[in-house]
Homo-oligomer: 203 residues x 2
């Protein structure tokens, strides 16, 4: 990685440094951003700085589903129209947003804030599984949809949850595996193709 | 451009919004950054927020060369070892950093903070040309190296400066035009190749 040359002003170097530690921002883009902000109006910079502080101070986790919320309940748990008999379990708040964007799901969510990853020392107690189980206790939930990622950690987390929830008599489903929309068989990887074959659906 | 789905917390949406207005940051990376900062420690976020405010409040323009500086003079103008008989004129502070990175130049700089661009309504009075001329007045500068960009605005600015400075009896040079290092003739564009031919050097 080519390091960006140091500026002649300490404050610019410091901002470049802090920015380059953010995900997806390399030293060159950090420098570009720093000089952009240096040229921006005091008001614009203040706006960004305030938004940064507010994101930590003015958000909390929804009391029901652990999603990011402004108050006690997130917008979805606070919406009386949502179907409370189905819970879709996701790893991150962003996953929920992407699912919401499709508009196909009308139930509620549960955000785990991570996945079980023995390699990174993250166990079942480190993510919001306890909150999910407490939520199921004595509830009339009929289906849990596991919408974890289709990678090793996501599958591990889904399997763990399936074993934990099935004995409660709640139906546990997960997102279908198969060819993505527009996917060409010639370029599909082995695992995707094997799963698409195993889970083939009646036409 | 696909818009990122809205979060369920207002503070996250606001930060995403502000971040997506920065150069090179689209709605998806803005969302990713916002959630990253939401998870980051309060201290890390405060550090970024402070660095942002400091970059506006703790920097000024060097009294001599208009470069970004911590105090009255930038690090280069404050360095007694630099050769003050040559001034390299650049459009942006970043250009100076990139030139410094090569280590070949030992003179001082002058930062214009822009270029002459009639299309964008930027004239010669809007960039730091007056400061450059004041600097030359009665000085023992022997060479001005025009290191503006090799595009229309950069060339316009260089031509304007050349006409302004030449009558003072100061030698005016500019960065060589030609094939870039590693450049293959087969893939060179017409303008680069024509200039490389016109400016051919004795071997």
């Amino acid at each position: 990685m080519k390091e960006a040359p140091k500026s002649t002003a300490a404050a610019v170097n410091r901002l470049t440094d802090v920015l380059s530690r953010l995900p997806g921002i390399g030293p060159k883009s950090a420098q570009r951003l720093a000089y952009h902000l240096l040229k921006a109006s005091e008001e614009q910079v203040r706006e960004l700085s305030d938004a940064l502080v507010a994101v930590k101070q003015k958000t909390r986790r929804c009391r029901v589903c652990c999603n990011i919320a402004d108050g006690d309940l997130c917008l979805i748990c606070g919406n009386p129209v949502r179907d409370r008999s189905r819970i879709c379990v996701v790893e991150q708040p962003q996953d929920m947003l992407t699912l919401e964007h499709t508009g196909v799901y009308k139930g509620v969510y549960h955000v785990l804030h991570g996945n079980i990853s023995p390699a990174e020392g993250v166990g079942s107690d480190d993510i919001c599984i306890r909150e999910l189980m407490a939520r199921l206790d004595g509830s009339d939930v009929t289906e849990i949809i596991l919408a974890t990622n289709a990678n090793v950690e996501g599958e591990t987390t889904a399997m763990y949850l399936q074993r934990l929830i099935s004995p409660l008599g709640v139906k546990v489903t997960r997102l279908a595996r198969g060819l993505p929309f527009g996917g060409e068989i010639e370029y599909a990887d082995d695992v995707t193709l094997s799963r698409a074959m195993e889970n083939r659906q009646e036409f």
